[in-house]
Symmetry: D2
Subunit: 347 residues, 4 copies
């Protein structure tokens, strides 16, 4: 089978990880990445020996790259013409401008959560609505919090049916290395309901969702608490069994040493994962409690990497590579090594 | 009427504020405070000119105070013998040891949340169970989070009846100036259910409560989200009206500029409140959302000062100063200036 | 003697404290404060019962204040016409615009550190160059770090002569309650030399100064380390004696419990100082070390309040109220209660 | 040549990195690692497929490992008997106890900075005193700050001669993932002089050193400012040229995007370095300033990995693998890939 050709436009926090993720897919080819300026990410790419070809959004800036000795393969337009699908991870709002180019050169594109929903034909999640994305021209991925949240809610929904969720998002306010945003010794609350709850309802329209978001001055992983009300009473045992069977959910406990979001980051570093990234959300077994007919639990969202698998699922959908979400997510998981850990720990 | 004589044992974060709060009560007399060592708090007391008399837990340490010129009035035993009731704000666990002295000298005592429930006859909250504390020898106050949480749940419960709450506590991990505890760039999750949910059920046994607590590396104010299920459907308007009528709940909004816990601390400083303290919890009007038959909202808990009013209510109860919680809390509020602000803003 | 009439334009972090400071001066009258919008600071002023009259920079916004019931006394122009001198604490850059009004209405003005040096006739510090400010029309105050730094360097310079300083500024990145700026889990370094070193040389041209500034994600107090080279060898004892004699320098030690900047904030809160502010810089006795012919020490800069005394000194200079810095600073200190603490601790 | 056999005792933050570093040395063999409990680090080792054999300090705990399916190769004693040299990275103070075992089984050992100097024959730094470590039985490495600091001072000293340094250490207070220590919204100052200055003088006795250390609530990289006084006047150009020629010093600038310690951590992650580690210290070109006859500059110390190269140098010394520091450090650098980056950027 011919490999699907992929470009990544915008080589920032998400773009770098998308490139690495596509690179690992046996049935895809990463043709190159595009960016604007010799950022630290581009300098690191260069220091690594240019594992990916670099294209420039604006060829007038080529001189800056030449001066540093960083090789440039061509322009964004050159890159677009070589691929089947573009993963657009440009800063929020730029994607809408880029779309004009994708239109013109007739490539498919998948946008990240920073763009407006209207940019795409389908607001997409690999597990919750894969089929809706098949053969579509433009997809938009859910944001990091929504992606991880939906994994857990969809997991329960498929087994038991979910009517309603009320969430509290304890949001990390910046990524490690961010100097353009930050918060110091303060919690910040957003107007409710949070957009993540609204987004969940767009993807899973049969679920009623609402919630409150509070920003916290940390950099490793959002934590979300979820109160989920099922069509039937869901016990802790039922929920746990469902969560443990999901390849993209790691069930952990404080007794094992996973004391919080920073433990998970440390663990991923110690695993030797590139950049200390983790694709799975974590779910604390000892956070699960029953409340009336509802179930409550807490998950950790590794914001830098969590959307990578679902974005790659999106390539599979829009390129009609697999016909069901089950097949597609299994393929993505296989190439990314997701779920292998399940076989090493007896739980 | 003769004033009730009060001692404060343990002049730390809580003890200083208890002393100041009792000092403002027209029907109480602060006889003195007791502590162990010339801490910064004691040095500040001295620099202020000793508005309160100081007694020593251990007279063998008197030399340290003499050297600094800080006047000592007598020993802890001297102090105990002069008062009707002791507010024990010694570090957690010390209160149990102090209780032997209170037993021996036949004084009443009110312990703070750090002690075990078994230390007291009644686990006490000024609004939720004042009557249970009347004429009791030993009371224990709810902790800061539980005190503020109960204010809001009791407020709804009295108007509409509450069956169940599921809470998420976003806990500040240290107070300003703390160097003996802290967390750096990490969220930390506790095993569920949180003790605050269990404590709420002890005080309000007709309510089912559970919840998850996450520690965050900040110093100003916990934020709690509450999903409360009423005996009847509670709308946002109903909840808001109830909250606005509670003297110890400030209803605020992000549009006014109250963006989070740090805004409230800043506001209290700008009000000229001693130490920048606030006795009221804040409740964000724009956090209130309905979910199924439940109502969800977020409150801010000013951890250093929030238990002061309810502790003073406790003096009123154990000394039988008022016969109902309504009368007692009104008296405490009057002397502490709580609720005056309601008259200045037209809401 | 007729009191000097003062206005404060810009009622933010600095403006509020300038207003409070002027209010306490027996020989000055605070006529009013001006601002733009019903910020939290203005709401707090209202809740306190309007101890100061409020004037509006833009009368078209009066409706917003009327709606909240906040009384407005008049316009900025009305205010300007009633005073001798304006303390301009508008956000950086706005002062330059305001200056046109001060020109037109012929009032003197003192600008804060956020404005360019060229805005004023004299770049001013109460201790280091009071005399240069006498009868000048426009002064500009040194910034918070520079103000505190110069106090300590000028103190040594007057006693022993200083040739050179090399400083490291460990800068707090935001004030408590700030949501418009912040840094999360990161140190940020500025290009050297820091502007504070350059500013010191403008005020004290006989001293060579350079240094490095690093931003840290905290809110209470900058810490500066200083390596100062004297015209003669300065021993630890010599330096200590000089520092102890300065009214605006508090000599503290870690053994007393002053473990860092947060201890000082806590101490000021416990003192009952409004807003938990401190006018004095602190200097750690146990940080002083000798290095070759130089002396090294660390100071704490309480960024919100440290410039208030020197700004009030500025009023005394530009209004020719005192003819020497010694007399002027003594007057300011007396009214602000600075130095009283020296009499209570035997050191 | 026969490979030198190495054990790592204590598989924590440092131990993991020592194991990885030794593993990469062509002339060494990592026989195994020893630890006590199934920590997250051990669990990660297991999930990675046990690239290193695991030995237990206490065989009575083997059941805990069996339960998790984690294979155990033998006891600490078994391990010791198979190796030439032990890298002891047990928690501070435990090394002294372990030394009795090393004595008994006649192996050489290298201790980390947490132990007392008296534990070893030589207090060691690969660049500054390699020769002193040759054929010695016990070495102790300098701590992370001292290791990095000495790199830069030794670099200048070898070229120009250094008489004196005065340092300010802006210390990160915890590592990512640490929950057992932390600081929240506070700077903390230590009594001067800092132990790092004293340690520098032990290693480089001809240099006079002093300094002040301030802890900051962050996790990525200490920053140290150094005021160094040479035997001759050292200009910025002279210093820069020296620093650029040092393989373990990366000269960076804020203009390139290296805004602070967190940029360096991000860059190392983006390079794909395991755990996002960096062996080199960074030195900001635009921090270098001249002051009198001295030079001032700022360096970044990546605390988790910085001592790894010098510890491996220590193996080379105590095992007499190379006879000069120049040869030994070159070998270590080659195997760790240090200095390769110099060839990719034209500077």
């Amino acid at each position: 089978m011919k490999k699907v050709k992929v470009a990544v436009v915008g080589y920032g926090t998400i773009g770098q990880r998308l490139a690495d993720g596509v690179f690992r897919q046996g049935d895809m080819e990463l043709v190159g990445v595009a960016d604007l300026a010799p950022t630290l990410a581009i300098r690191a790419l260069f220091e690594k020996g240019m594992p990916y070809d670099l294209y420039l959004v604006d060829m007038e800036k080529k001189g800056e790259f030449d001066e540093l000795g960083i090789p440039v393969k061509g322009s964004l337009i050159d890159l677009i013409q070589k691929v089947d699908v573009v993963l657009d991870s440009a800063p929020g709002g730029i994607g809408a401008k880029n779309k004009e180019i994708y239109d013109k050169y007739n490539v498919r594109a998948i946008f990240q959560g920073g763009e407006k929903n209207s940019i795409a034909d389908v607001f997409f999640h690999g597990y919750a609505n894969y089929e809706a994305g098949i053969d579509k021209r433009y997809l938009k991925l859910t944001s990091c919090n929504t992606t991880g949240l939906i994994r857990s809610v969809d997991c329960l929904d498929r087994k038991f049916g979910i009517d309603r969720v009320a969430i509290t998002i304890i949001r990390r306010v910046a990524d490690p290395g961010d100097y353009h945003r930050g918060l110091t010794n303060a919690l910040q609350i957003d107007k409710a309901p949070s957009h993540q709850a609204l987004d969940l309802m767009t993807i899973m329209p049969h679920v009623e969702a609402t919630g409150i978001l509070v920003h916290t001055p940390i950099t490793h992983g959002h934590i979300i608490t979820v109160v989920a009300t099922g069509k039937q009473k869901i016990t802790k045992e039922m929920a746990l069994e469902a969560f443990k069977s999901h390849p993209r959910i790691r069930v952990v406990s404080t007794d094992e040493g996973f004391k919080g979001n920073a433990s998970l980051f440390k663990y991923a570093r110690d695993l030797g994962n590139p950049r200390g990234d983790m694709y799975e959300i974590a779910l604390w077994e000892d956070s699960i409690v029953e409340t009336g007919d509802s179930i409550m639990y807490a998950i950790n969202i590794p914001q830098e990497a969590v959307t990578i698998p679902e974005t790659i699922d999106g390539i599979r959908a829009c390129m009609s590579m697999q016909t069901t979400g089950a097949e597609a997510t299994a393929k993505t998981n296989e190439y990314l090594g997701i779920g292998k850990w399940k076989t090493c720990f007896k739980k």
